[in-house]
């Protein structure tokens, strides 16, 4: 199996290199035919990577202990789905997944665009396969997943128990889908620069890819948060750890790009800016991989130091400097078609949104790299605490939230005072009306939370107004019911209304964040069977304890009755397992979720006499974080869903006009 895997990776490397050469050759006069050959090489690369990854999976499933990888991350008693997920438990496996996804995306990108964007394809293929060749090289020569052991052990040392969790099966692939999909917009941007075809066509080719990547990055981040929440047992879900930041930064940049690209489509502005954003987004995605794999920053994720650092650094420098140099050399072609007419305009709102997102990205980058910078300057590794991130992210986050409400209310180009008055009246009135109502709840104990709640109301009413105005127009055209009008409205402007749905999700996300960060109740209990203890306004009764042993692990668990105001509210069964192969304990958190609060119990210890040490958290509104994730995914799918071309034309009339003007 090792031989098959290694041979396939070498062939894949050859296919990728050939694709680069052939694609570039096809750019010279009279050699266009080479492009077809290059595209076939892309399919070949994809087929070879598929064989490689299937081989790895087969090795994991069939316990090939002669492979170092299989021995390190699996064991004979491990369940089949964990064996499959062991592929992304470590560095070579993750890189294999990266390369395979890239090969699939490159194939899809070629199939979708080879006719539609013929002129952009050669360079785009060369860039994609250049990236592919880099990863294939790493896999073949630097960190091979198919490395064999001289002495074959009888059993593997098991997958880290922390990773034996459903969310951990899904979280890394989701993140990778996002990271890798960003390579496609990057390649088309570079291609547009090289070929000097800097009109709106490259943007049309990559817009949906960016939404796709953004969506999966977001899902990956949320699943990671959920995993941390359920598995690590500290009651929280986000800690500004370098690895979390590594995923958060490209997501922020992709968010910025998705907004600023609209300004380019509508007004022909921000063209340099968008190029820079696309390049930076991809570079940050690779940087994320570099950060987590190089060991330059200490992290909870602690992947272990490796030899990859210099290679990745070189790759990042090339991916950053090359395109930036191209942008500089093409500056005259990237000149804005219009200038900003007024600060009271949609494009100005997008501009502010971009500045805030970029600001937050660089603040996060600064915090993440601070230990590296201080070590270089002073010799001491100094890190910023979580306080640093929270102080910066809070005002920026609140300002961004407010902009989601302001944006849709302000027209393009220039707003008149009368327009602003008419559109802002209702949302502002609703926000003002919500303020006294909030006084009745605990939200007002923390003024920031109160402010966020008021802004949330403002944004929701402003978005509802957008839907209402659109529906009224459709309904007035006649022949449709109100729900029919809504359906038509969304179907004909998927991106716009999908975007609004995402904004609703963002509002819900902020409500969840504000509630769960500001009002946590925490306590610890030591209970013998039958005893009771109190945390906050709840009483916990230890009702039962149990112990069990199976070949894979030794588990202990307790049953807790939760009472509030004398009424039984929930039953919780937190546990603690000891995995036998690795001798590592693992906390099994018990959570009772409801829309208002999560009761979160951790069994810290269960001793022989049945005395249990428990740690309890009551986290308000956490459920809304996960609900917001679902709303955002729903909105993202609506926005990315392929629309019929005929239906789109009338909705984007101004864009057509724009195109004529620029042709």
């Amino acid at each position: 199996m090792s031989l098959l895997g290694r041979a396939t990776l070498l062939l894949a490397l050859a296919a990728a290199v050939y694709a680069v050469v052939a694609a570039l050759t096809s750019r010279t006069r009279g050699r266009r035919g080479w492009q077809e050959s290059a595209e076939r090489a892309v399919y070949g690369f994809c087929a070879l990577m598929t064989i490689a990854i299937v081989t790895m999976w087969a090795a994991l499933l069939t316990d090939q202990w002669d492979l170092r990888y299989v021995t390190g991350y699996s064991s004979s008693t491990l369940g089949a789905r964990w064996k499959l997920s062991a592929l992304w438990a470590s560095q070579p496996g993750s890189l294999l997944l990266w390369a395979w996804l890239l090969s699939v995306f490159a194939t899809v990108a070629v199939l979708l665009n080879r006719r539609r964007h013929r002129e952009l394809m050669p360079v785009a293929v060369a860039v994609l396969m250049g990236i592919g060749a880099f990863f294939a090289f790493m896999l073949a020569f630097v960190t091979s997943p198919f490395e064999t052991l001289a002495v074959v052990p009888a059993n593997g040392s098991d997958l880290n128990p922390l990773l034996q969790n459903e969310y951990m099966v899904a979280h890394p692939p989701m993140l990778y889908l996002g990271y890798v999909a960003l390579a496609v917009p990057f390649s088309f941007a570079v291609s547009a620069l090289v070929t000097r075809r800097l009109d709106a066509t490259w943007i049309a080719a990559v817009r949906r890819w960016t939404i796709f990547a953004w969506l999966f990055l977001g899902i990956g981040i949320l699943l990671g948060a959920r995993w941390a929440y359920e598995e690590l047992g500290w009651g929280g879900y986000w800690a500004w750890d370098p690895v979390e930041n590594a995923a958060f930064m490209p997501w922020l940049l992709a968010t910025a790009f998705l907004h600023s690209v609209m300004v380019q489509e509508r007004r022909g502005m921000l063209r340099v800016w968008n190029m820079v954003l696309v390049v930076l987004t991809f570079v940050f995605a690779v940087f994320g991989t570099f950060l987590t794999r190089s060991g330059i920053v200490a992290s909870v994720h602690a992947f272990g130091e490796s030899t990859l650092g210099p290679f990745f650094l070189a790759f990042i420098v090339i991916a950053l400097v090359g395109p930036l140099a191209l942008i500089v050399s093409r500056l005259p072609l990237l000149r804005s078609r219009h200038s900003l007419e007024s600060f009271a305009s949609r494009e100005a709102v997008f501009l502010f949104n971009n500045l805030l997102l970029i600001g937050l990205t660089f603040a996060t980058l600064w915090g993440t790299l601070y230990p590296v910078l201080t070590e270089a300057v002073t010799g001491d590794r100094i890190t910023v605490g979580q306080g640093f991130y929270n102080t910066i992210a809070l005002p920026i986050g609140v300002a961004l939230l407010a902009l989601t409400g302001v944006g849709p209310l302000i027209p393009w180009r220039k707003a008149s005072l009368a327009q602003l008055k008419r559109r802002f009246t209702w949302p502002l009135a609703a926000a003002a009306a919500a303020a006294p109502l909030l006084l009745l709840t605990d939200a007002w104990d923390r003024w920031v939370v109160g402010a966020i709640a008021c802004i949330a109301v403002f944004v929701l009413v402003s978005i509802a107004g957008e839907f209402w105005r659109g529906m009224k127009v459709r309904h007035a055209l006649g022949g449709v019911s109100w729900p029919g009008a809504l359906g038509q409205l969304v179907a004909r402007n998927r991106r716009r209304y999908g975007g609004y749905i995402v904004h609703v999700g963002v509002v819900v996300l902020f409500i969840g964040l504000a509630g769960s960060r500001a009002f946590v109740t925490e306590g610890s209990l030591v209970l013998s069977p039958g005893e009771r203890g109190t945390v906050g306004e709840r009483t916990f009764v230890l009702e039962d304890t149990s112990r069990a042993v199976d070949p894979h692990k030794m588990s202990t668990a307790v049953r807790l009755g939760v009472y509030k105001d004398g009424e039984r509210e929930a039953t919780l069964a937190p546990g603690r397992n000891l995995y036998l192969a690795s001798q590592q304990p693992s906390t099994e958190v018990a959570i009772d979720s409801s829309p208002t609060r999560d009761v979160y119990a951790v069994l810290v210890k269960l001793d022989e006499r049945g005395q249990a040490v428990l740690s309890i958290f009551v986290n308000p509104l956490v459920m809304w974080l996960w609900i917001s994730g679902l709303i955002i995914v729903g909105g993202g799918v609506v926005a990315a869903w392929p629309a019929r071309r005929t239906a789109r034309a009338p909705a984007e009339a101004p864009e057509g006009a724009e195109r004529r003007a620029t042709a």
Binding site: T71, L159, G233, W234, G235, F362, Q584
Partner: protein, 140 residues
């Protein structure tokens, strides 16, 4: 002219952001990475060291008690240098003797008083062929 004004505004904003970041990262939020030998009383550190033999097996339970979990750590490079740590809060599952950890806290009367819930356990940083260690060396 217009573009020059815009350029100046952009530069000002960039400088402003850099300034804010610089000040904020200097203001009270700093934690210096340090090994047991390099601690000075009264300053906040991220102590990075190895758990020395003698750490209790029921560490997670002790950390929940009022007196806290008390254990000794030793310098990673220089095992002779040790310091006692008092810690309360949640203990990562991977905590055990010989493992590298990070705790945030201050040196008080010769004992490192760690902040609540500040402990991070790191997996061994070098790949080792020993099966037990290999399971953790590259995991997240």
């Amino acid at each position: 002219m217009r573009s020059r004004v815009r350029f100046i505004i952009a530069i000002c904003m960039a400088v402003g952001l850099a300034g804010v970041l610089g000040v904020m990262s200097l203001k009270g939020n700093q934690q210096t990475y340090a090994s047991p030998g390099a601690l000075v009383a009264g300053k906040t550190y991220r102590l990075n060291a190895t758990v020395a033999p003698g750490a209790p097996a029921d560490a997670a339970a002790r950390a929940q008690t009022a007196e806290g979990l008390r254990f000794t750590v030793r310098d990673k490079a220089n095992p002779g240098t040790t310091i006692d740590v008092v810690y309360r809060g949640s203990v990562p599952d991977t905590f055990k003797v010989g493992r590298d950890i990070v705790v945030v806290g201050k040196l008080e009367d010769g004992v490192f008083q760690a902040q609540r819930n500040s402990m991070i356990a790191q997996c061994p940083s070098k790949f080792q062929a020993k099966a037990d260690e290999a399971a953790h060396s590259g995991s997240r």
